[in-house]
Amino acid sequence: MEETTILEVKDLAVSFQTFEGVVQAVRGVDFSLKKGETLAIVGESGSGKSVSTKAINQLLPKKNTLIERGEILFEGKDLLKLSEKEIQKIRGNDIAMIFQDPMTSLNPTMQVGKQIAEPIIAHKGVSKGEAKQKALELMDLVGIQHPERTYKSYPHQFSGGMRQRVMIAIALACEPKILIADEPTTALDVTIQAQILDLMNNLKKDLDTSIIFITHDLGVVAQMADRVAVMYAGKIVEIGTADEIFYNPMHPYTWGLLASMPTLDVEQTSLYTIPGSPPNLLHPPEGDAFAARNEYALGIDFYEDPELFKVSETHFAKTWLLHPDAPEVIPPAEVIRRKEKFRYLNSEKRMSKTVGGEAYGRRY
């Protein structure tokens, strides 16, 4: 894999002006995306994962969004500083998006083929006929049968899975360098989910597009991601390769997420849940935002927010537990089991880049 960084988000902070006050949705996020890689961003609803990525394409509502600070560097340009006209040339062309709800994301009064051809006409300066030809090829590519016939169909004639294929075709229309997929399978049932994920994986191999994959489903992450960023209350709490996050997690929040995944190979009577709920970002708590729900919280967590501690060259976690002076704690049994596997894999030097979904407990 080529190691060129294509996108770099630096200290991004985004707030929303609401009637109740200023909500600090994203409170300082750093990550980078390399060419051809898939970065998954996971977290609960309201953790800021969607907001961070919508900021990249300036898709947040202009009226009440405040970009507090930060930079989003793409090909040497800070996307946050671009004018509406300049960002229009990047949207859909260099950076494309797929959204969560395929049922409502397509224009109900426009033929699907035309909706696919639209970005090609807008960005590539080709004739309508050429755009149509390209749209037909894309429809074929994403597995829509009889493109010639279905070109003139309307979205309501398509199922949810087919509509998401149309959305993918739209996103790929201009061969973007970056594809942002915001929970693209959440609204679909499991078999369709698997088809869409397979499709995305295949397309990624063929087109060498970098993908930012937003989800709250760790099973999906396992199937898609090279690297994983875990977000909580507007910050990245842990980031690393998929293997590091799944088999050697360091942050108690990641432990909680992994422990609350249903598994097939362990006899479970009840499913673990992380106690409590995320903090209100109108008034973020002092110290570590996760402290109140964290059974491993240290005294310092309640008044000082930890920095990102380095675990390896690729692995960082934002927890005081990694401080040299921190006491030793025993992670949940599920995490210990995973760490043992990690040590085993590492000692055997058998770690592979892509591990089958089975090892992560959920299979599609």
């Binding site: 062309n93 224009n107 109900p108 639209e118």
Partner: protein, 316 residues
């Protein structure tokens, strides 16, 4: 589609029949009698009775209704009691002016209101929006008679720019220009409401459409704001707007009773008032049935337009 239209037209027939029965009953239940109004006070009861017999008003109501229906189906809408003129030519002569007045009003209103509504929605929350919403509120609230008299006072009496009423000057050759000149004030008065109403609907609909996910998709495609508005915004906003147009259309012949009265517009609105005051039963029946037919056609038109605009709607 043809089959659907035919079906709708056929189902309209019993509806029209019911409307005619309802209108006939209500009319006869209302106090007063045509003979009271134009027989001299010293007429003897025998003379009154003779007149009633001559007009057929001495018959039981069901008999009167069936007679009316029988004649109406053959195209005879009866006569005006007071003038002994047949109803149909009078009605026809009044339709033209009302269609001119209301057609001009609706056309002008939509041409102004639809862009204003879109502007208001796109500037949602800014002073432009506040101004337009406030203006629309005033437009919906202000009574026609007040606005009409106000405009007549300012532009006709004080400034002398426009005539105070009528469709043409007495003794003057009637041309398109003179009609336009006479139209300006009444159309302004009537448009106040329609512009305000449509602006509010268009604004609300556009705000709703711009909150839809497909607009976000269009934005994420990198389309220009203009393209998003015309190709994705307006087409989808038209669906609810067609409903409003459908409810406005019957006004084309329903007329504007108050405004026609103020501006002495020789249209159906004034005819209706006169017919009610003078208990001209055949005329009232004719006007009611005409309105009913137009409403039914307007509804059919709206339903067909839905199918034209929205591919999800199909009639089989």
């Amino acid at each position: 589609m043809k089959k659907y239209i035919l079906k709708r037209l056929l189902t309209a027939l019993p509806v029209l029949l019911m409307i005619s029965i309802g209108a006939f009953i209500m009319m006869n239940l209302a106090p007063g009698d045509p003979t009271d109004l134009y027989i001299t006070p010293d007429a003897t009861p025998v003379q009154v009775e003779a007149t009633r017999t001559a007009l057929g008003l001495d018959q039981p109501y069901p008999v009167q209704y069936v007679r009316w229906l029988g004649r109406a189906l053959r195209g005879d809408l009866g006569i005006n009691y007071s003038t002994r003129y047949p109803v149909l030519p009078i009605l026809v002569s009044r339709i033209g002016p009302t269609i001119v007045l209301m057609g001009a009003t609706l056309l002008f209103s939509y041409l102004v209101a639809i862009p204003l509504g879109i502007l208001s929605a796109r500037k949602h929350g800014t002073w432009v929006d506040t101004l337009l919403t406030g203006g629309a509120f005033v437009g919906v609230s202000i009574p026609n008679f007040f606005l009409g008299l106000g405009l007549i006072y300012i532009f006709s009496v004080r400034l002398g720019w426009f005539p105070t009423g009528g469709m043409s000057q007495l003794g003057e050759e009637s041309s398109i220009l003179t009609v336009l000149h006479h139209l300006i004030l009444p159309v302004s008065v009537l448009s106040a409401f329609y512009i305000a109403n449509m602006t509010r609907y268009m604004r609300a609909t556009m705000i709703k459409v711009y909150g839809e996910n497909y607009i976000r998709t269009a934005t994420a495609k990198g389309l220009a704001a203009q393209v998003i508005l015309t190709k994705h915004g307006i087409r989808n906003a038209l669906i609810p707007v067609i409903t409003i147009i459908g409810t406005d259309l019957p006004r084309l012949v329903g007329g504007a009773i108050v405004t026609e009265q103020i501006f002495q517009w020789p249209g159906l609105g004034r005819l209706t008032i006169m017919a009610i005051q003078q208990r001209e039963y055949p005329m009232l029946m004719a006007i009611t049935m005409l309105s009913a037919v137009v409403v039914l056609f307007a509804n059919l038109f709206v339903d067909i337009m839905y199918a034209v605009v929205d591919p999800r709607i199909k009639y089989n």
